[in-house]
Symmetry: C2
Subunit: 273 residues, 2 copies
């Protein structure tokens, strides 16, 4: 399953590339961004899952992370947020469901279950493809923003043998209890709410905490904090957590780029040891 | 002449804002981006002029400079590349002339001369507005990319009392002798080529070099290097110059963000002393 190169450009001594590949999980072409630092050899890989409406380009362009990835010797992989190019009725009616809003689940409900299999794509398919093509090791970190923070946490918590580090910016902490999660899970996973719990980081933390500190940054002026994010749900779960609340920061990539260095160093400390 | 705030967001402890204001130079509304570092007071201002097709958002989003502006205590101002919203026949027929391609000149030829007055806008009008609204000093640096590198160099060379520092990424070094410049100057300034020389950095350097080192970065895999940029025109002009050629780098913001720290430090050294 080959990658088609859309572009490869020099950046901080390494290469920022954008690729397309056929995905067996989503039965669509998927786009990824990969930053390979200078002289990479057996480099660990840090996967970034983006939030609603974003693409594989968003963090690559707005995150400011390549400088640090180059310095630390980490490969950065950025992903799209849903399958694209399959026209399913209702997939583009709203910005928080369907296209751009895969929620990193394996949908079980028609008509979504054929293509909306982002969980399997992220956990199994993409790492195998990346590890076959790029000069990387099998040490993996994962992080993300908002819907992607939810995805990163859920994926690391459910696959603790596959990820050595995890962090999140303004994640949807308790999706089963907020409007974004209820809408997405109801459609992708069906009405049985007990099924949703396999995709809820706060609930997963209670069952089996990640065996290392999770770094979470949250802006206190985040426009989605009160209604959708609920980072307080992490507290009391037993998870070892560094939850930092930042006065006056919002939900944007201006917030993310401010704290991205701390995240890269958090992962480097765990991936490079 | 008030600024209308479109957005203000926390970033690296400071504020990234985007504003609109009525311009007497262009007789249009103009958009600017302003990054104010934490605790700014009498801060110097570094103006960034963007290249063809770009806007006031491009460098703000893709340049990765706020981190350094915050650290160094410099206000960053990013500009649009032409007037917008006036419909002049021919202003949108090509990407290298008209909208998004003001070339930082004061047009003398109809129908451009009413609105396409970016030189006066950058040199006189905008600094006065910025210095009235933001907590800044009258110490000014200027830099830019491609068409904006041309603009920054020309403006600093012609206004050596108003700018303490200047640098450029992949500037159009000798616009009178390349297709981009010939097209723009012919239309904006008319057929008399001797008039064009007031907007050609290489020619201006020969007449009166800038009284400090100018930093110029150029990628050797830049797709416009051979036909449009000609940095070799700077050599032998008598200008004190640090011209760095970087193998494998192209014309993009992946190139710019790689070297932006050196530019911020170049300006800081001169603006903060």
């Amino acid at each position: 399953m080959a990658f088609t190169t859309r572009s490869e450009q020099r950046c901080f001594g390494g290469v920022q590339g954008f690729y397309t590949h056929a995905s067996s999980s989503t039965k669509t072409d998927m786009k990824v961004g990969v930053y390979v630092p200078p002289d990479a050899k057996d480099a660990p890989v840090l996967y970034y899952l983006a939030g609603l409406t974003c693409t594989e380009e968003t963090f690559a362009i707005k995150g400011g992370a390549q400088r640090l990835a180059a310095e630390l010797g980490i490969v950065l992989v950025t992903l799209d947020t849903s399958p694209r190019g399959v026209s399913i009725p209702g997939d583009s009616d709203s910005w928080d469901f369907g296209v751009g809003a895969g929620f990193y689940v394996d949908a079980t409900q028609a008509p979504w279950s054929t293509n909306y299999r982002m969980y399997s794509y992220v956990v199994d398919e993409l790492p195998a493809l990346i590890e076959a093509k790029f000069p990387v090791s099998q040490r993996r970190g994962i992080f993300g923003h908002s819907m992607g923070g939810h995805g990163a946490l859920v994926i690391a918590l459910r696959n603790q043998d596959r990820y050595q580090s995890v962090s999140a910016f303004a994640p949807i902490a308790n999706p089963v209890a907020v409007p974004w999660g209820e809408k997405a899970f109801g459609n992708y996973l069906g009405p049985d709410r007990s099924v949703w719990e396999a995709y809820d980081a706060s609930i997963l933390m209670k069952a089996k905490p990640f065996p290392d500190t999770i770094l979470v940054d949250q802006g206190e002026s985040d426009q989605f904090l009160e209604k959708q994010l609920h980072p307080e749900a992490f507290e009391g779960t037993g998870q070892q957590l560094e939850l930092r609340r930042h006065a006056t920061y919002d939900h944007s990539y201006w917030f993310i780029q401010t704290f991205v260095e701390d995240h890269l160093r958090h992962h480097a400390k765990r991936l490079l040891k």
